[in-house]
C-alpha cells in the first residue's frame, strides 16, 4: 500500500472519529467537550500561523491581532447590525484579511524585524479596540454576544454544535494549507525559501505570494477568532488581543511539527488537553511548568515536532527491512 493511500485512509478514519466518535462519546460531558473546543480554537490559529511560517517563510508574533479583529468584526456586526451569526463569522475573517493589508509594508522586512513589526501592529489594533468605545464597548468589552443559531432543528449554540463548527473550520484550513502546498504556488514558495533572489530572477512574484499567504493566514485566524467570540459570548480588548492567542498556537505548532499540515492540530490538542486534563489536577498551581519542560524536551529530542517523530520508523525496523 502506498504512503499516499495509507495517509488518506488514516485521515478518513480520523475525520470519522472526530465528526462521529467524539460527539457520541463526549456529547454529554460539557467540560471535556469545552476543552476540546478550546484546543481546536488554538489549533485553528496554529494552522494559520504554520501556513504563514512554513509557506510564506515569515515568523509572526502578531496573530493575536487577526484573532482580535476577526472576533470584534463578527461580534459587532451580529450585535449592532443584526447580521446572521454564520455570515458575521465569515465577515470577521474578511475583516482580519483586510486588516492584514495594513501590514503589507512589513513584508519588506525579514526575520526578527518582520516579527517585531507585526507585534507592533497587533498592539495598535488592541488600542483601537479600546478607544472605539461606541462601537466596541471600549475596555469594558461586549457581553452577551449572539450565539450560533439552531439550523434545521440542530442547535449550533450548544457545546456539540460549537465543536462541529470549529472542527470544520480547522479541517478546511488544513485542507486549504495542504492544497496550496501541493500547488504550483506551493512549489514557488518552497523555492523562495532556498533563495528568494533566484526565484525572482525566474519571474516568481515573491512579494505577491507572501502577501497572499499573509492575507489567507489572517482570514483563517479571523474566522477562528469570530467563532470564539460567538462561542464564549464575551469579548474585551485584553482577551481578544491577548498575547496568548499568539504564544499558545506557536507552541502548539512547534510541538506538533509546523512543517507538517496536521502537526499544528495534533500539537494543539496534545498540549492543551494534556495540560488541562492531566497536569492541572495533579498540580493545580504551576501545571504550566510541566508543559514548558515537555515543550523543551520535544524541541531538544525531536526538533521537527511530534508528527515527524510519530511517523519516523524505528532504526531497527529499517535495518531489518534492508536485510
Amino acid at each position: 500500500m502506498s504512503n499516499s493511500l495509507m495517509n488518506r485512509i488514516l485521515l478518513a478514519v480520523a475525520l470519522a472519529v472526530a465528526y462521529v466518535g467524539v460527539p457520541l462519546v463526549f456529547g454529554g460531558n460539557a467540560y471535556v467537550l469545552g476543552l476540546i473546543v478550546a484546543a481546536l480554537t488554538i489549533a485553528g490559529v496554529a494552522v494559520a500561523w504554520a501556513l504563514l511560517g512554513n509557506l510564506g517563510g515569515m515568523v509572526s508574533f502578531g496573530h493575536a491581532a487577526f484573532f482580535g479583529v476577526g472576533s470584534y468584526t463578527s461580534a459587532v456586526l451580529a450585535m449592532k447590525l443584526g447580521v446572521p451569526v454564520f455570515a458575521a463569522m465569515l465577515l470577521g475573517g474578511l475583516g482580519a484579511a483586510v486588516s492584514s493589508i495594513a501590514m503589507l509594508p512589513a513584508l519588506r522586512l525579514r526575520g526578527p524585524y518582520f516579527a517585531l513589526a507585526i507585534l507592533a501592529y497587533a498592539h495598535i489594533f488592541q488600542i483601537l479596540a479600546t478607544e472605539m468605545t461606541p462601537i466596541t464597548g471600549g475596555a469594558g468589552g461586549l457581553l452577551s454576544i449572539p450565539r450560533f443559531p439552531t439550523v434545521l432543528g440542530f442547535d449550533f449554540g450548544d457545546k456539540t454544535g460549537g465543536y462541529l463548527i470549529v472542527l470544520t473550520i480547522v479541517v478546511l484550513a488544513a485542507l486549504a494549507y495542504d492544497a496550496i502546498r501541493r500547488s504550483t504556488w506551493g512549489l514557488a514558495l518552497k523555492a523562495m525559501h532556498d533563495t528568494e533572489v533566484a526565484t525572482r530572477v525566474v519571474g516568481v512574484p515573491s512579494t505577491h505570494l507572501k502577501a497572499a499567504m499573509l492575507v489567507l493566514s489572517a482570514f483563517i485566524t479571523g474566522v477562528v477568532g469570530a467563532f470564539n467570540a460567538h462561542f464564549i459570548s464575551f469579548l474585551d480588548p485584553d482577551y481578544a488581543f491577548s498575547s496568548g492567542w499568539t504564544v499558545l498556537p506557536i507552541a502548539a505548532a512547534i510541538f506538533g511539527g509546523y512543517r507538517t499540515v496536521w502537526g499544528p492540530v495534533v500539537g494543539a490538542l496534545a498540549i492543551y488537553l494534556v495540560d488541562q486534563l492531566l497536569f492541572k489536577p495533579i498540580l493545580p498551581h504551576g501545571h504550566q511548568m510541566i508543559l514548558g519542560v515537555l515543550l523543551c524536551a520535544m524541541i531538544l529530542f525531536s526538533p521537527g515536532g511530534l508528527m515527524p517523530a510519530l511517523s519516523r520508523r524505528p532504526v531497527k525496523e529499517n535495518r531489518h527491512a534492508h536485510a
Binding site: A30, G140, G141, L143, S233, D238, H285
Partner: protein, 392 residues
C-alpha cells in the same frame, strides 16, 4: 410492674433509635463549587476570596454539625474567561449544588452564563459591573456593586468639603463606570471635576500626575483602579508632590497587605474598607469569623476574605433552607436565595429580581501609622480622619 417498665424502656429505646436513625438519614453532605483566579494577574484577590470561602465552610460545618456537612471543590480559572467557563462546566459535571467565587467582571460574565445554562446558582462579590445584573439571569447573585463603592467615595469627599477633584481612573468597565458615577454626582453638587483615564499597561504615572498637578490644581485626588495602579500613582505623586489635601481610592487599597508592603506610600491615603486593621470585632459571628480565619490562615482577615465569607455563608444557609423545603433538587435554590434578608459582616443583604444587593454601602478607611482606621460613615468610624494629610 417490672414487665411494664421493661416494655416502656424497650419502646423508648426503639423510638429513640428510630428518631436518631431518621436524623442520620436526613444528614447530608453538600458539595459547593468554587471557580476563582488562583494564578494569573488576579491571583492575589482570588486567593483572598478563597480564604473567606474556606472560613465560611469551616464555620458552617461547626454550626450544622450532626445535621449537615459541607465541602467545597475549587478550580483555578487562571484569570481566563474561557477557563472560567470550563471550570463551571467541570463543577456542574461533578454535581455541585451551587457556585461561589469569581473575580473580575470579564470572567464572571461568561462563567455565570455557563452556570445559568447548567441551572446552577452563581454567587459572587468579585464583579461590580452593572451589565452583570442587567442580564436578568435568575441564577446570578452578588452581594456588592458599583453603587456601594461610589456612595462611600462621594460621601467621604463631601464630608471633606472637596471643591476641586481630579479623578484618575483605569479604563476598565467597572472602574470607568465607578469614575463616571462619582463624576456625575460631584458635578451635580457644584464640585469641579477633572477626569483622567489611563490604560492597564501604564507603569509610569508621572506624565499623568504632572498634568493633574499643573492643569487641574485639585484639592483632592481620587483614584479608581487596582493595587498596582495605586502604587504607581502614589509613587509618581510622591515625586511631583501636588498640593492636595487628600488622596482617596476605592477597593484593594485600605488593606493590611498594602499597609505592610508600602508603608511609605500609604500613610494618610483613604480607601474602601469594611474592617479596620488590626481587626476589631464585637458581634459574636464576626468574632468567630476572625478567630477561624486566624486558625486556618494564621493572619487577620481582610475585606476580600470577608466578602468571600458572607457570599458563601448566605449560599450555605439558602441551600439548607431549600433542602428542608424539599426544593433543592427541583431548582428551588434561586428562589430561596432571593428570600434572603440577613444582617451580615458587610451590612444588610437582600437580593432584587436581578440578584443585586441594593443595600450595599461601603465604608472608608484611612492608613494611619501602619493601621487602617475606619473614618466614614460617622456611625461606623473607629477613629478620626487625618485631614488635610497626604503621604508626602
Amino acid at each position: 410492674m417490672k414487665r411494664t417498665l421493661a416494655h416502656l424502656v424497650t419502646v423508648s429505646a426503639l423510638a429513640l433509635s428510630v428518631a436518631l436513625g431518621a436524623g442520620a438519614a436526613q444528614a447530608k453532605e453538600f458539595l459547593l463549587g468554587s471557580e476563582l483566579p488562583l494564578t494569573g494577574s488576579l491571583a492575589r484577590v482570588g486567593q483572598g476570596m478563597h480564604e473567606g470561602i474556606s472560613v465560611a465552610v469551616e464555620m458552617a460545618n461547626r454550626s450544622y454539625a450532626g445535621k449537615h456537612s459541607f465541602k467545597v471543590q475549587t478550580i483555578d480559572d487562571e484569570t481566563s474567561p474561557a477557563k472560567g467557563v470550563a471550570a463551571v462546566e467541570k463543577l456542574a459535571g461533578d454535581g455541585v449544588v451551587a457556585i461561589t467565587g469569581g473575580y473580575g467582571s470579564n470572567i464572571i460574565g461568561p462563567a455565570s452564563e455557563a452556570a445559568q445554562k447548567a441551572g446552577l446558582v452563581y454567587i459572587t462579590s468579585g464583579g461590580v459591573s452593572p451589565e452583570l445584573t442587567q442580564r436578568g439571569y435568575p441564577t446570578f447573585f452578588r452581594i456588592n456593586n458599583t453603587d456601594g463603592y461610589a456612595l462611600a467615595m462621594i460621601g467621604l469627599l463631601q464630608d471633606m468639603g472637596a471643591k476641586k477633584v481630579s479623578i484618575v481612573y483605569l479604563n476598565k468597565d467597572a472602574t470607568s463606570s465607578l469614575a463616571r458615577q462619582v463624576n456625575t454626582a460631584l458635578t451635580a453638587k457644584g464640585v469641579t471635576v477633572g477626569m483622567h483615564e489611563f490604560d492597564a499597561s501604564t507603569s509610569d504615572f508621572k506624565p499623568l500626575m504632572n498634568k493633574v498637578k499643573l492643569q487641574d490644581r485639585p484639592d483632592t485626588i481620587a483614584m479608581v483602579g487596582y493595587e498596582n495602579d495605586y502604587v504607581g500613582i502614589l509613587r509618581a505623586s510622591k515625586v511631583l508632590k501636588p498640593q492636595v489635601k487628600a488622596v482617596v481610592g476605592v477597593w484593594s487599597l485600605a488593606t493590611a497587605q498594602m499597609a505592610k508592603e508600602f508603608p511609605d506610600l500609604m500613610e494618610n491615603v483613604y480607601g474602601t474598607s469594611m474592617l479596620p486593621y488590626p481587626v476589631e470585632f464585637t458581634q459574636p459571628e464576626a468574632v468567630e469569623f476572625a478567630a477561624t480565619y486566624k486558625k486556618l490562615f494564621n493572619k487577620d482577615p481582610d475585606y476580600l476574605g470577608q466578602f468571600g465569607y458572607v457570599q458563601t455563608r448566605l449560599l450555605i444557609d439558602a441551600v439548607v433552607r431549600a433542602d428542608e423545603a424539599g426544593t433543592l433538587g427541583k431548582g428551588g435554590l434561586p428562589d430561596e436565595l432571593r428570600k434572603t434578608d440577613a444582617n451580615t459582616l458587610i451590612g444588610r443583604v437582600t437580593f432584587d429580581k436581578n440578584g443585586d444587593n441594593l443595600n450595599f454601602t461601603h465604608r472608608m478607611g484611612q492608613h494611619q501609622g501602619g493601621k487602617v482606621v475606619l473614618v466614614w460613615p460617622q456611625d461606623a468610624a473607629n477613629g478620626k480622619m487625618n485631614f488635610p494629610a497626604v503621604p508626602w
